[in-house]
Symmetry: C2
Subunit: 167 residues, 2 copies
Amino acid sequence: MDISFNDIKQKFQGCGLKTTPQRTAIYDALLRSTAHPTAEDLFDQVAPQFPMMSLNTVYYTLGVLRTSGLIHEVNIGHTRARFDANLSPHHHLICVECQAIVDVMDPRLNRLTSPAGIPKDFEITSYQVAFRGFCGSCRRHAGRSINHSSSGLHPTTVKGGLHGKSS
Amino acid sequence: MDISFNDIKQKFQGCGLKTTPQRTAIYDALLRSTAHPTAEDLFDQVAPQFPMMSLNTVYYTLGVLRTSGLIHEVNIGHTRARFDANLSPHHHLICVECQAIVDVMDPRLNRLTSPAGIPKDFEITSYQVAFRGFCGSCRRHAGRSINHSSSGLHPTTVKGGLHGKSS
DNA sequence: TGTTAAATAGTAATTATTCTTAAATAGGAA
DNA sequence: TTCCTATTTAAGAATAATTACTATTTAACA
């Protein structure tokens, strides 16, 4: 996920965006991260290089990048927006304790077929699976043992498909 | 999805909750709805019966019901929380234009298996698929024709499983 | 190099939600 | 049935995240 300044400049130009130092730094920070940072996370990360920068600029920049399709907004809970520069189709694993978001790149999840029983005139343009649970450190901290049956998930990966046995 | 006052009373008692008129009305309104209303939606719906009620009570009540496991909070975007009294496992279809949320009950979606490539110590407790797109009325209003290929979804439902052909 | 539309930074405003507190009340005990 | 108490309600204040407004600055193009 390494990218040069010129790559970023080209992407910005391709979207008709000016290449400013702040914008470049924010987008670069997001490209380097897999943690799905908040606007404030990015501000904290970039602010040392730009002592005059305002949090507002981060929000504005993220809005522009999102509108241009260079980044995605990921929402887990309604408290704050999280951002992601990984545009390849993927899904998320969310720790309900510490709110960590981990990318799930299993390509089989990208082959779901249209669900049954939905309005015929609804046009689906994308979908995402959000897996929720407890990350390792939160689980250990709480003294939880793993109990896969509670998820409704099959404990092991089934070769060749995402479905379990028909019930 | 019809439920009597005594059913509600029993559910509240089972969770150690007092059966107050406001709480009953809020939960009843949520049970009758499939629109995944916001706290304010519910307030508007219930307020005529309780002119003195405050929005605060709705928030408090929804918090109590959620903690008791009687309702779920559904988040689409970070702007506001939406609520759902439908506890049976299901998924959602979200209109990115008008923010409508439609339940997707296709049982095949409840049989996904553990995704590959995730940390071994992460315990998944649940998952949900969020399908995004344009509902009929928003699509017609914007003059969009249906283009299923943009979703990565197979246009037709494949009998017997959720996966498409292996590529 | 000059021009201009876009971007930045600072401040204020807005929105959704939570906190605090006092009064009211449901539900169990006497 | 009446009393007691913890819970619930309502009202207003407070908070957190985000957006709006505006003057200044700057990147990109001519």
